[in-house]
């Protein structure tokens, strides 16, 4: 009798093993699956007069081979990898825009100044004058186009922001549901771990990290999630979803806000500083936007402002074919001033010295005693005193009135310049080629032509073409370093994956051997029942 029971326990154990092995084999390709194994132990022994007779085998539980540290390392590496990939996808497009140096802004700029030279050599030639006007329009159009491309990318980022935030929220909700399921499973079966549910939850965390870097705090078996610098995303059973909101400083710019609980119920959306969103596709996009898009757009704008204002200055010093004083040749937008929330005063900023322009964004604040001007790109304070600011970094801040405590403005001097650049002159006879007047007087045009190689930007270090080549170089450097980092990250991910898979991965050869082993085990155990039955038959057959 006992023998049958022992046999039964053996069959039980073998069948558990076989099923788990089958589960492993079926899930060999399942993402996030940690291979499972059955832990068995002896079923104890019975104490009888002649010794302790064993009672067979007992199944303890099903374990999953899971190393939390290795898994978290892998997740973090993949999160960084996703950020680099997202950044790389965007910057590749910008990089490709500049790929061919025979098309785009540089050759159009060259052709424009060639035409100015032609007018300087033959000021009375109407063909040369018309050509110059045509080339000027082409140049303005090229610069407008480059800006339009950047604006399109900006719009694309805004759209992706919306999609990503939705995905993040739904992943977080999924983790919340899994938390619930795991609690219920544990409540129903307190001594065993719900391995597959745990696998699913770990996978959901990994997928969420692809979108944004998330920290996990395990508390009583549930996962709490935090993002950024510790803002709560999922706490206990409450979800604090993310939202896409217009930025307080610049309503045209979409950014991410987290939710906090308001006293008295309800939630409040608080804008997250862009630099604190790291990791995952969202982190990569945000980094791309403030590191590359903003900077490139500002530098392009600086080029447009420099070209327009310097050219106008020389042009207005000359005389056209009708003997009239030169008018403005180019037109470009004034610095963009965005009023902060609740600001009462008025501020208008104008360009003072294009050579001193930095291409950075600024913030002006009045805290009651001091006027503080901060360079938003470097973070440095440019002006801090009780007197209102005058001319700083090539910008004139003095048109300031009605300032109250707490007023603030964001100033984007060159952000819109490239889109707004246009040619104001429509009549070629209005081109002020002469310095004194007279049909063959090209002296002013000679001065205009000299602007081509004059170092008018960047504190006397760059001419227009060099300012452009700097933009190309800057984008290229970012693209190159991203490419290198992505390659390095790829190999890091591979290494982490190897380490994690060494513990958790299913090896089909191993499972095959296990199958053979447990199959034999099952056969052997079932023989025991056979033998027990034969013994019983023998006993029954004794009474003749």
């Amino acid at each position: 009798m006992n023998l049958a029971k022992i046999g039964l326990s053996g069959i039980n154990a073998a069948s558990h093993n076989l099923q788990t092995t089958g589960h492993n084999i079926s899930n060999a390709a399942t993402e996030g699956y940690n291979r499972q194994s059955v832990s068995i132990s002896t079923a104890g022994s019975q104490s009888i007069g002649s010794g302790f007779i064993g009672r067979g085998v007992a199944v303890d539980t099903v374990n999953r081979s899971y190393d939390g540290f290795l898994y978290r390392q892998l997740v973090r590496a993949e999160s960084t990898g996703a950020a680099l990939t997202a950044y790389g996808t965007e910057i590749t497009q910008l990089n490709n825009l500049f790929a061919d140096r025979t098309v785009g802004i540089s050759p159009t700029l060259a052709k424009f100044f060639d035409s100015v030279d032609a007018v300087a050599s033959s000021p009375s030639d109407p063909a040369a004058r018309n050509e110059m006007l045509g080339r000027a329009n082409a140049l303005a159009a090229q610069i407008n186009d480059a800006q339009a491309f950047i604006d399109a990318q900006r719009g694309d980022v805004n759209t992706q922001l919306g999609t990503l935030v939705k995905q993040i929220n739904s992943q977080a909700q999924r983790i919340q549901e899994l938390n619930q399921s795991i609690l219920e499973a544990r409540a129903g079966n307190p001594n065993h771990a719900p391995n597959d549910l745990l696998d699913q939850r770990d996978l959901a965390v990994k997928d969420l990290n692809q979108l944004i870097d998330v920290r996990v705090l395990e508390q009583d078996g549930t996962f709490n999630l935090t993002i950024g610098n510790g803002q709560m995303l999922l706490g206990g059973s409450q979800l604090f979803p993310l939202q896409v909101v217009p930025s307080a400083n610049d309503p045209a710019r979409m950014t991410v806000a987290y939710s906090v609980q308001k006293t008295g119920g309800g939630t409040l959306a608080v804008e997250m500083p862009e630099t604190s969103i790291k990791g995952g596709t969202l982190g990569g996009l945000m980094q791309y936007r403030y590191e590359v898009l903003d900077a490139t757009q500002n530098e392009l704008g600086r080029l447009a402002v420099g070209l327009a204002l310097e050219f106008n200055q020389v042009h207005e010093g000359g005389f056209d074919q009708n003997g009239a004083s030169g008018k403005s040749f180019f037109d470009v937008a004034q610095p963009k001033v965005i009023r902060g929330q609740g600001t009462q005063g008025n501020l208008a900023v104008t360009f003072n010295d294009t050579d001193a322009l930095t291409g950075h964004d600024y913030q002006l604040r009045f805290d009651g005693t001091n006027y503080v001007v901060t360079d938003l790109t470097t973070g440095k304070t440019v002006h801090e005193s009780g007197t209102p600011p005058g001319v700083l970094d090539g910008l004139d801040f003095s048109a300031l009135s009605g300032v109250q405590e707490g007023d603030s403005w964001m100033i984007q001097p060159t952000r819109n310049a490239a889109a707004s650049l246009s040619v104001q002159l429509t009549d070629a006879a209005n081109i002020a080629a002469g310095a004194k007047g007279g049909d063959a007087d090209g002296d002013n045009a000679l001065l205009l032509a000299k602007l081509r190689s004059a170092k008018t930007l960047g504190e006397g270090t760059l001419d227009f073409n060099e300012a452009y080549s700097r933009i190309v170089n800057s984008v290229a450097v970012h693209a190159q370093s991203n490419g290198t980092a992505a390659k390095a990250q790829l190999s890091l991910i591979q290494q982490n994956l190897s380490a994690q898979q060494a513990v958790s991965g299913v090896n089909l050869n191993e499972e095959y051997v296990n199958l053979m082993q447990y199959q034999e085990h099952f056969r052997a155990a079932s023989r025991l029942i056979d033998v027990s039955s034969t013994l019983f038959d023998t006993l029954l057959g004794l009474k003749a």
Binding site: S121, V472, N473, A502, G505, Y512
Partner: protein, 413 residues
């Protein structure tokens, strides 16, 4: 170390992907002939290439400017060449006219020749280029340089400067008043003339500078020689320098044949003088730089002088001779000036040639540098292509080999 099955497949895939990615980049390099497919491949070289392109474009622009300059100066050279021939012819005629006496008919025919020469010269001075712009008007190129009737200069002093090289602007024109109405720069010559109402038969010839270092010569001020009768009825003359009180009278010595203008430091200018001037006659000896040298007005005065009847009247004859002498002196100086301007045009054309040569050299340098930065080295890329293709094949084969050694597959065979 344990290898999971999925890791194995992933690794294999990763390797093949990486090799293919590298191969793709090599294909792009080969296909486009460019080492940098995008600026990210070599950011510094990309920026340098853009900068060098601008330098090359500027160089080419200067070359184009020089072509315009060259054509303008050639047109001017053509005009000056014609003017030179015309002036040579004119000088010959004037010398012929100065020899011996002319009959009224001779004078009339000479006047016609001079009028025709003047008109031809006016045509040259008011010549236009291919675009209808007047060559010698300075900046006001839509107006003729000279007034056809009065011969006055109508243009301005503007030089049509062209940027021939990075730091060199060359004028593509010369000003009409400088070419046709000015004595050569630095000329210390003096020009003599008889006053309009002279009644005597005094004949004044070309002045000759005796001492170039004399203060009077260096100050370049004109002299007036006025004839009067002294208390005893003898002819004497008074020399007065412009802006100075008159010098003491000197008795006129017809036999001497000359009048010396000088002071205690010696004789500054000497002028041949003959004939019998009347009291009240006046003559001027002025520096060429201070005299009206407009050749059209010179010719007009001479033509008018030729129109006055002369025969038998000694005074009229003397006036005509003086007018002729004056005109010849001035035309000689005009001729020298035209030659001088022609030489300057020639110098400028030479300089343009030299700049063209230098510009071509520079262009070659830029092209070379660009090629170094951008062009792909076909040998390197092709050999790398071979290497990578072999690596890809090896990786794929290795994968296939190991993959087929699974226990499941082997046990089913």
């Amino acid at each position: 170390m344990r290898i999971s099955t999925s890791l194995f497949f992933q690794n294999g895939l990763q390797t093949i992907n990486t090799q293919q990615g590298d191969l793709m980049h090599l294909y792009q390099q080969l296909g486009s002939g460019r080492r940098m497919v995008t600026p990210a491949d070599d950011p510094l070289a990309a920026a340098q290439a853009i900068n060098i392109t601008q330098a090359q474009a500027i160089n080419q622009s200067h070359a184009d400017n020089r072509a315009v300059l060259s054509s303008n100066l050639s047109a001017e050279e053509g005009a000056l060449g014609s003017a030179t021939l015309l002036l040579q012819d004119l000088k010959t005629r004037l010398v012929e006219a100065g020899n011996g006496t002319m009959s009224d008919a001779d004078r009339a025919s000479l006047a016609e020749v001079l009028a025709s020469t003047r008109d031809t010269m006016m045509g040259i001075a008011n010549r236009t280029d291919g675009n209808g712009q007047y060559l010698f008007s300075g900046h006001s190129s839509s107006r003729p340089a000279f007034d056809e009737n009065t011969g006055a200069y109508l243009g301005d002093n503007g030089l049509r400067k062209v940027q021939a090289d990075a730091t060199r602007q060359i004028a593509g024109n010369d000003i009409g008043s400088v070419v046709f109405a000015k004595a050569p720069d630095g000329s210390q010559a003096y020009v003599s003339a008889a006053a309009a109402g002279n009644t005597g038969s005094g004949h004044i010839a070309a002045p000759v500078v005796q001492d170039t270092q004399h203060a009077w010569v260096r100050e370049a001020r004109g002299f007036t020689i006025s004839f009067q009768e002294n208390t005893t009825g003898e002819l004497e003359y008074i020399v007065q320098r412009a802006g100075e009180p008159p010098l003491p009278a000197v008795p006129y010595d017809a036999a001497a044949g000359k009048i010396s203008l000088g002071n205690g430091d010696g004789v500054a200018v000497q002028v041949s003088f003959s004939g019998q001037p009347a009291a009240g006659d006046a003559f001027t000896v002025t520096p060429a730089s201070d005299t009206d040298m407009n050749m059209f007005q010179t010719l007009d005065h001479l033509i008018a002088a030729l129109g006055t009847p002369v025969s038998g009247n000694a005074s009229a004859q003397a006036n005509l001779d003086n007018a002729l002498s004056s005109a010849m002196q001035k035309i000689n100086l005009n001729y020298d000036q035209v030659l001088s301007v022609r030489a300057s045009v020639g110098t400028r054309l030479n300089e343009i040639d030299a700049l063209d040569g230098a510009g071509k050299q520079r262009d070659l340098g830029f092209s070379n540098r660009l090629s170094q930065l951008e062009d792909v080295d076909y040998y390197t890329v092709v050999s790398q292509l071979q290497l990578r293709s072999a690596a890809l094949e090896a990786a794929a084969m290795a994968f296939k080999q190991i993959q087929s050694s699974s226990l499941f597959i082997m046990s089913s065979q």
